[in-house]
């Protein structure tokens, strides 16, 4: 059995007949819808397990049809339009959310080249040379869905939720974009299929004189980027512990408080599709895309034909599980903590990491001695800088007596520090009144 060239390149896109394009689009859309139906069920079941309760288990096998029933109920509910709402914007906000979430699915590579009705075609709706930026554009447009929903509802809690979400998404999009930069630097391309192909190679790195065959997945090669990216997409999808725009203990339901019926269903849909899309995005960028993980990849056929779609779905499911796990485990962050994490931790870390990586990549072709001199010089500069960096001198440790003396006048009165608490007269009386059991050691027991 032979395996043909499976890696799609950019030249393989845009050659499909119209019916094949239609099939792919419908498939991606159906995948989004189905992922929502199953995702809600999956989340409720898993969170239920984590809370030691069964979760929905009545309707259908394992309660699988529960979401469908909820969706039907939602569709038949009354659609309430608040009197102070801005009608047009109120209507369009959930639509924007859904459109953006689903559009991003179109550049996700589900698999390599396959044959559909005799056509060799990649398992991906389309790919462009800037596909990753397209996903970023979709997610930055999705902010409008949330903010406009909050604004158009015409009441206080939604407005607060919308404003929070604007600040949150703009801040975390910067961390998100910067962590992708490392991927671009290593893969040399911005197309999603190109990045998956780049992760198939095992780069030979020279590591302090040793030639090491590094694993191809960027989650391992670019571990800091991966961690920052995942934190950022949790913030970007408004999921716990970063679900501040809809914090139910503070804002009722945040930006969707006034929404009901089908519009609410659309918001729910966009939220779950965004979660799946972002998981697929992570898989594509960092977890090898549709490539089989290690023990499976020993089998030659694992990365050919339709099998990769299975690995892809498996990885996406794993990441969705992590999303649910986070929700079941972590408490919601306070708003200022959340902003501090984004701007003061993730952003500087990312910049330093990109700088280090760029330096590493740039010096790979150098002579070994030159490289070592450069690294040594940088390490020396950093060391000297840390040594002579002006730091606030820690306040001298005061003794207890000094601390007491330094207290401002008018402070709460303190008892003397060398106070010997005298034995309570009441204790003595009780002891005295009691009939001593053993006259020999009465005095040693006292007090």
């Amino acid at each position: 059995m032979t395996f043909l060239a499976q890696e799609p390149t950019l030249a393989d896109f845009g050659r499909d007949p119209w019916w094949l394009v239609l099939i792919k689009i419908v498939f991606a859309f159906a995948f989004g819808l189905l992922a929502t139906l199953l995702g809600v069920w999956f989340e409720r079941r898993v969170v239920g397990r984590m809370a030691v309760r069964p979760g929905p288990n009545q309707l259908g096998p394992f309660g699988l049809l529960q979401t469908l029933a909820d969706g039907m109920k939602m569709a038949f509910k009354e659609d309430i339009l608040p009197r102070s709402a801005d009608k047009v914007v109120y209507f369009f906000a959930p639509v924007i959310s859904v459109v953006c979430a689903v559009t991003a699915l179109s550049v996700m590579p589900f698999g390599p080249m396959v044959s559909i009705f005799g056509h060799q075609t990649p398992l991906q709706v389309t790919d462009v040379s800037v596909a990753v930026l397209l996903v970023l554009a979709c997610s930055s447009m999705a902010v409008y869905g949330v903010v406009l929903a909050g604004w158009a509802s015409g009441s206080t809690y939604p407005l607060l939720g919308g404003l929070r979400s604007a600040a949150q998404l703009i801040s975390y999009e910067i961390a998100l974009g910067l962590s992708i930069v490392a991927v671009f630097m290593l893969s040399g391309t911005m197309s999603t299929s190109g990045i998956v192909a780049a992760q198939g190679e095992r780069p030979q790195l020279e590591f302090f004189g040793f030639d090491v065959s590094a694993p191809g997945w960027y989650a391992i090669l670019l571990f800091p980027s991966f961690v920052i990216f995942f934190i950022a997409i949790v913030g970007e999808t408004n999921r716990a512990p970063f679900d501040l725009p809809e914090a139910e203990s503070e804002l009722v339901a945040g930006f969707m408080t006034e929404y009901s019926s089908l519009k609410f269903a659309l918001i729910m849909l966009s939220e779950y599709v965004a979660m799946v899309t972002m998981s697929a995005f992570t898989v594509t960028l960092f977890l090898g895309g549709w490539r089989a993980p290690w023990p499976l990849s020993i089998w030659d056929g694992a990365n050919a034909g339709w099998w990769p779609m299975l690995w892809f779905f498996g990885k996406v499911l794993l990441l969705v599980f992590v999303f649910v796990w986070l929700r079941g485990t972590l408490p919601r962050l306070r708003y200022d903590q959340f902003m501090r994490l984004g701007w003061k931790v993730l952003l500087p870390l990312n910049l330093v990491w990109i700088l280090v990586l760029a330096g590493w990549l740039k010096t790979q072709g150098w002579e070994r001695a030159d490289r070592l001199i450069l690294y040594g010089a940088i390490a020396g500069v950093v060391l000297v800088a840390t040594l002579i960096w002006p730091s606030r001198r820690p306040a001298p440790k005061l003794t207890l007596a000094e601390e007491v003396n330094n207290r401002p006048s008018g402070s709460f009165p303190l008892p003397p520090l060398d106070l010997q608490v005298p034995p309570s007269p009441r204790t003595q009386r009780i002891v005295a009144e009691r009939e001593p059991a053993n006259l020999a050691d009465t005095d040693s027991r006292e007090v």
């Binding site: 896109f13 914007v89 800037v130 930026l133 554009a137 903010v147 604004w151 604007a166 911005m190």
Partner: protein, 256 residues
């Protein structure tokens, strides 16, 4: 590259591109006009978003995918800021008033706007009229993104860095203006707070509610102290202390 690039290089306009243009061009124009005409500032910002999205798609169909997508990313972020400024400065639901406060403002704005557009257009024309087009194939020879990156970081690196320095200066300036310095010495510790609370002339306990021991339950009616004096602290400062008239205190005939 993609088929679009090849076709565009050949100089013909493919059908799909023409259809996209004729659908989106009116939308872009409607958005631009609506942005100026809309009375509500938020609607105006949204119209601008629509125009910018259409422009982004135009760039993409003209085989400039990078600039198209960046247009969408950058302008959505920028307009989102505009949106927030509207919310913060004007408030929700505020509409433009149609009254002209400055006399002749519109005419002046129109003249100046047209004049500025003319200046920019002439300047661009004089600067670029002599340059010959290299063509898409040459420009995208090493890939669209790589070509832009090469130009940006070699030929135009000074302009690029100057622009970013300008932007950073603006950002730092905004931060300096918005920042309120709180020095450590200004912070009151617990002991100082308590001393201020028990200072002579400051009543340390909770303030009496209005209407306590008073003849009426109105917020404006001050409470009475046990000796019959009015407790002025029981009413908000903005309300005048009001002695009730005899008419106010008479029974209304409701207590039967």
């Amino acid at each position: 590259m993609t088929t679009q690039t090849v076709l565009a290089a050949a100089g013909s306009v493919p059908g799909g591109e023409a259809v996209t243009f004729w659908i989106l061009a009116p939308l872009a124009l409607i958005g631009a006009i609506g942005m100026v005409a809309a009375r509500n500032a938020v609607h105006s910002a949204l119209m601008l978003v629509m125009t910018m999205l259409c422009l982004g798609v135009f760039y993409v169909i003209q085989a400039g995918p990078f600039i198209g997508v960046v247009q969408i990313i950058v302008y959505t972020g920028a307009i989102m800021m505009l949106f927030l400024f509207v919310l913060m400065l004007v408030g929700r639901g505020a509409s433009d008033s149609v009254i002209e406060t400055l006399r002749g403002q519109r005419v002046a704005a129109l003249v100046l706007g047209v004049g500025f557009a003319g200046l920019v257009g002439t300047g661009l024309h004089r600067a670029l009229a002599d340059s010959t087009a290299a063509g898409l194939t040459a420009a995208n020879a090493e890939g669209n993104v790589q070509g832009i990156a090469r130009l940006l970081f070699t030929k135009y690196v000074l302009a690029f860095e100057l622009t970013s320095a300008l932007l950073i200066t603006a950002a730092v300036g905004a931060m300096v203006l918005a920042h309120i310095e709180r020095r450590r010495e200004d912070r009151m510790d617990q002991a100082a707070t308590m001393k201020a609370r028990f200072r002579p002339g400051n009543y340390p306990g909770p303030k009496p509610g209005p209407g306590v021991f008073a003849t009426s339950s109105s917020v404006a009616t001050p409470a009475r102290l046990p000796d019959g004096r009015l407790a002025e602290q029981s009413t908000p400062e903005i309300l005048p202390v009001r002695e009730l008239t005899a008419e106010d205190t008479t029974l209304k005939g409701t207590e039967k």
